[in-house]
């Protein structure tokens, strides 16, 4: 029966997805620059965090850079000015992003659809201007020279070591996202996304579920930001700017929202384009924009989504 076949296939797909990510991740720092590979990882985590909202809860946040950026600054400051250990700095960044997510969520979830997106964008702009005004963020220069510190006695100043640290955190976070999607909570989220009135009529306080999804997503976006600050050793205004919020939506749609691997594939593509095409300057934006238009018009499911649909039809 075709339904049974699909179930088996989706189990295989999940396993395949894991194996692919794991294998690529292990050899990456020997194939490409470790810093580039870390950039891909943190953006993949960022996009996967957004996907939890966009793909599995049906909520479009246009303010996720606020979580990425604020966590980057907090982690950077904690490591640089206070000399805190890596894990403490990471935790501080994630905590701030999570709290910020709670504030954003409580305010934005009062509205739905485009109004929800606009409120997240507006609040993210507030965060942006706060970061610009604060004396300790370094304004236009950003926070520079953030020390990576050590972890279990290993000097993370070494880029290969830092890469594997980032990779381990990424895998743990990626696992948590997959678990969330396939948890009792994830089931309720799917139900709400598909038919909110029906979920209400079954007695679910849907706002509380959406809020928890938003907070988890914000916390994980913060984790991406904290890792980014340590990996790149700087935090800049670019990480809190609205362009970053737009970019992560683009990555998610490009790779395929609501798919396990889509956001990571999207992040890989966008970061690669930005990296290798950076010599041609602002044309990068034109090219990413054009790619985005093509994807939305021709491959609405995104790259991974289209591949899955193709394989699903064949089986």
């Amino acid at each position: 029966m075709s339904h049974g076949a699909r179930r088996v296939w989706s189990g295989q797909a999940v396993f395949l997805a894991w194996a692919t990510v794991a294998a690529c991740g292990f050899v990456a720092p020997f194939v490409v620059y470790p810093v580039f590979a870390m950039n891909v990882l943190v953006m993949a985590l960022f996009a996967s965090a957004l996907n939890l909202l966009l793909g599995y809860s049906g909520l479009l946040s246009f303010g996720h850079a606020a979580f990425l950026g604020s966590a980057a600054y907090v982690t950077g400051w904690s490591a640089k000015a206070w000399g805190m250990p890596v894990l403490v700095s990471l935790a501080a960044g994630v905590a701030v992003a999570t709290l910020l997510g709670l504030v954003f969520g409580v305010l934005a979830l009062r509205r739905t659809g485009i109004y929800f997106a606009m409120i997240t964008l507006g609040l993210a702009q507030v965060v942006y201007f706060i970061v610009v005004q604060m004396p300790w963020t370094g304004g236009e220069d950003g926070l520079q020279g953030i020390p990576r510190g050590t972890f279990l006695g290993i000097d993370l100043g070494n880029s290969i070591a830092m890469y594997y640290f980032t990779y381990a955190v990424f895998l743990a976070a990626f696992w948590l996202i997959q678990r969330t999607i396939r948890s009792p909570f994830g089931q309720v989220l799917r139900a709400i996304k598909e038919n909110e009135p029906r979920a209400i009529s079954l007695g679910y306080d849907v706002q509380r579920y959406k809020l928890l999804a938003f907070v988890i997503s914000a916390g994980l976006a913060g984790l991406a930001g904290s890792l980014k600050a340590l990996a790149m050793q700087f935090a800049t205004l670019g990480d809190v700017a609205w362009q970053r919020s737009g970019e992560v939506v683009l990555m998610t749609l490009l790779g395929g929202m609501g798919t396990v691997l889509g956001p990571s594939v999207g992040a890989l593509l966008v970061v690669t384009m930005e990296n290798y095409l950076s010599s041609i300057g602002s044309w990068v934006t034109v090219i990413t924009g054009a790619v985005f238009v093509v994807v939305v018009m021709a491959f609405r499911r995104g790259i991974v989504g289209e591949v899955q649909a193709l394989l699903g039809r064949r089986s």
């Binding site: 339904h3 009792p184 909570f185 089931q187 309720v188 799917r190 209400i200 009529s201 079954l202 579920y209």
Partner: protein, 250 residues
């Protein structure tokens, strides 16, 4: 006798920017009865449903469940009290399997619905109960089919199984046979009769033969007001009802 009434509205009204959808309806639903709500299009039947289940706020009036005022409660809260509704268009979760649909309803009472760190298999303890509910509506063999792929009549049956999973005290069915073929209508009517045992059912229905067969009491609404109330024989003999239905049914 007020304790005989499980659901009651007192002079409930709903206006949308000046348009009066429901103009002061007092409804008295007896415990254990099957109560029909009929009337021509635009009579305010679905609006009444939305008011009773708190999906819409009332403009004025009071809604009582078991004699308690529920007028200001949230819709999910009313659902948790045991007043559960169905929808006019079939409301299933399309990408979830039939089994998962029923399990969503069972899951809330398990109290683990906020556990994002727990594996999905922790829900398997509910599978037996979910399968039993599916068997009740003859869906046992389709348990693993995504709900979106079920034929229309089967979706309505699944919706009913999902609703029954909550063990509701009051079932509000919004046009349970709408858009169904002859065979399915009979099947769903039988099903409603079966599940109504030990519960109260309030149903909006256009198919008058279903209403005649099932309902103990019928309230006829027209232009947002109660036109007539009583048994099928009583309301169908009422000249005002006949007039309201000219051109549409009787």
């Amino acid at each position: 006798m007020p304790d005989d009434l499980i659901l009651e509205t007192r002079d409930v009204a709903k206006e949308f920017r000046g348009f009066v959808a429901v103009a002061g309806v007092s409804l008295r639903v007896k415990r254990g009865s099957i109560h029909g709500l009929i009337g021509p299009n635009g009579a305010g039947k679905t609006t009444m449903f939305n008011l009773l289940t708190r999906f819409l706020p009332v403009t004025r009036g009071t809604i009582l469940h078991r004699g308690e005022d529920v007028t200001a409660m949230a819709p999910a809260q009313v659902a948790r009290r045991g007043v559960v509704r169905s929808f006019q268009i079939s409301a299933v979760f399309g990408s979830l399997t039939a089994l998962e649909n029923v399990r969503i309803a069972l899951q809330r009472r398990l109290g683990t619905s906020f556990r994002f760190w727990a594996p999905e298999r922790s829900l398997r303890v509910l599978d037996d109960r979910a399968r039993a509910l599916l068997d009740d509506v003859d869906l046992g063999s389709l348990a693993d089919v995504p709900a979106g792929e079920l034929p229309y009549g089967r979706k309505r049956a699944l919706e009913l199984a999902t609703t029954l999973a909550l063990e509701p005290e009051v079932l509000l069915l919004d046009e349970p046979t709408a858009g169904m073929g002859h065979e399915d209508v009979g099947r769903v009517a039988d099903l409603i009769q079966r599940v109504a045992k030990g519960r109260t059912v309030l149903m909006v229905e256009h198919n008058l033969s279903v209403v005649a067969d099932l309902c103990d009491t019928i309230t006829v609404l027209a232009r947002g007001s109660v036109l007539a109330e009583g048994s099928y024989a009583q309301v169908s003999a009422d000249p005002a009802v006949r007039e309201a239905y000219i051109g549409s049914a009787a």
